[in-house]
Subunit: 365 residues, 2 copies
DNA sequence: ATGAAAGCGCTAACAA
DNA sequence: TTGTTAGCGCTTTCAT
């Protein structure tokens, strides 16, 4: 026998389909049918049932419904931090697309801890989320990757899907969906833009060293350098973090050390904002003395003065696509071509006011 | 008979406690006991069960568990927009506190539409969320308020709680919890600060006119004006929206119209950022020509140049308190004093660089 | 320490 | 068009 009384402090049992049925003088099946409006019910009956529902303040129990075989209509999204605009915009896309499909969104924040990420994937699986979306770069740790792959497989076995949003695949054999963006290409274009303007010594600033996002951006940057025959200099690569504080601090240090450069490639716009501050405090003018670029094209890029040249990443669209790619088998009509499970979105450089041609620079070189 | 096959495309039934029990040679009760580690189980038995769980890739079904009477361990939060830092910081607090208690967070965005808000409250009730937190100012529409009150009552009847976070109560009789902050007081302090610096004509800029948040801030502003005997001037009250775009646009218009003022009280920091931009473009210097203040103390306030004087609102803490106040009956030990169900947090002015004494101003008056 | 079995609230197959 | 009823997967009481 179940253990709970089914009554609350007031002795008021919360109402169930059975209560509604009794009050309306119909069967539970009929109540279910008016609830789900997926089956013909006589108008008069329907009204009686709806009246009973009103009077009892009845609210259907989604757990019971899910247990009876109906989708829980939930998608899960796992991000580093909801406050970071990179994640926030993706989360917004996920929420909007989920909402459009009548789904609710479970949101978790890992604060950068892979173990928390794995734990959250599990919790969302327990809740039988229709899809679990993990967002943003990942570390290349083997044990972690294997474990995530295992969970992806288990999710898949339960008819759900792990979606990789902005991070590399888990391997050919692992059943996942994924949304990618051209990270390397954007970085290439950005550095190429700088090179074209005559800059040869470009400082690469920020981004956690182990992260796939950093790897890809740095790879694009290096490829452009190489292509133009600019000589690489490890002193010009200063990864670290994706924070404003890091950008400001490391920029100041680099200035103090007297490392020579005429342009700064910040790993993202937030880092660029920090760098801009340090530059300003050191009396270095952007773009007259030093050119500065960022990445992501989040609002701060337009709000900075000078406005920041950066790479546009379609963050909100990535979020939307993440839920689409995971759910199209469930929602769309079956005559559509079978989904590939991978969508790749483009990036493009947005030229604003923070880059000037090398020729106009003074000092620092 | 249930209608679904219980098998997926591969004919692989997903495993259940029964499968685990069979494989481990124990009963489902025993499996449940090792799952919940709330009851003594022989070490050897436990190991066999855990092995079976591993081998089958078994993941407990939270719906079944919830239906059997265990809390779903979910809290719901409803915000305007996850990207807006005001909401994002509160959401972060909610997520962290929920997570601390082993709960997951359902997040919905209303995009400012009260009807969507009501619909989301219902959906979260269906999912039997332990608490449903509605965040931010509300409109004073009676039909809407009544409906929300009704839903609060129904939630309460199911042992859950509607939490009002940063908005006025729904009435004495309506069972809700709430987290308030001293909105009026912060506005009072801010305008008083301006007045003390010799400003007499203060432009109030932004904030949706119908919103409780705007009402409270405006009320504090007016009270300070009155107290200091500054004469009110309706031309100096320019509500509208909480966006950067509004701040920039309306600021430019006001400048064009030649309305006289020496200080601007922006309804929040985002509006202040927009106003700052318009001011800059018009060649009006902050704070030399015009003083500027904001509200909320979100990061942009520190990032602006000059750094923005504003009112600090403990956003993340509000989020944390929202889940605490709703859940302390469930989680805390019963000997604690009974919760009041209302927590009120203070605000304080943060003086930075965007205000100068009236004496140093030139022009505009 | 373990097992048997009822029941949580709902949906849908089947019967009428 | 409506009713009857099995069963979704789990927890817990009660018995052993």
């Amino acid at each position: 026998m179940g253990r709970q009384s089914g009554t609350d402090a007031d002795g008021q049992r919360r109402s169930t389909v059975t209560d509604v049925a009794r009050r309306a003088g119909v069967s539970t099946a009929t109540v279910s049918r008016v609830l789900n409006r997926n089956y013909p019910v006589a108008a008069a009956t329907r009204e009686r049932v709806e009246k009973a529902i009103q009077e009892l303040g009845y609210v259907v129990n989604a757990h019971a419904r899910a247990l009876a075989g109906v989708s829980g209509r939930t998608v899960g999204i796992i991000v580093n931090d909801v406050v970071d605009p990179f994640y926030a915009y993706i989360a917004r896309g996920v929420e909007r697309e989920a909402s459009r499909g009548g789904r609710l969104c479970l949101v978790c924040c890992t604060q950068g801890d892979p173990q928390r990420e794995l734990a959250f994937v599990e919790l969302m699986h327990e809740r039988r989320a229709d899809a679990v979306i993990v967002v943003g770069g990942s570390v290349a740790d083997r044990a972690y990757t294997d474990e995530l792959a295992r969970r992806a497989t288990e999710l898949d076995a339960d008819g759900s899907k792990l979606v990789l949003c902005g991070r590399p695949p888990l391997g050919e054999r692992v059943p996942t969906a994924s949304v990618e963006y051209d990270n390397e290409g954007g970085a290439f274009a950005l550095t190429d833009h700088l090179l074209t303007q005559g800059h040869e010594r470009v400082l690469y600033l920020g981004g956690p060293p182990g992260l796939s996002t950093t790897r890809d951006r740095l790879a694009g940057h290096r490829r452009a350098l190489e292509l133009r025959g600019a000589e690489p200099d490890s002193a010009l690569e200063q990864p670290g973090a994706f924070s404003r504080a890091f950008g400001a601090r490391r920029m100041a240090e680099v200035l103090r050390q007297g490392i020579r450069f005429t342009a700064v490639f910040a790993a993202n716009d937030i880092v660029a904002a920090g760098a801009a501050q340090a530059l300003e405090e050191a009396g270095v003018r952007v773009p007259q003395d030093v050119s500065l670029v960022g990445y992501d094209d989040v609002p701060v890029a337009q709000e900075m003065r000078p406005r920041l040249t950066t790479v546009h990443v379609p963050l909100e669209e990535m979020g939307r696509q993440a839920v689409r790619v995971a759910l199209r088998d469930e929602d769309e009509d079956p005559w559509r071509e079978p989904a590939t499970g991978v969508v790749r979105l483009g990036t493009h450089i947005v030229v604003r006011d923070s880059v000037a041609p090398r020729g106009t620079h003074r000092g620092r070189m």
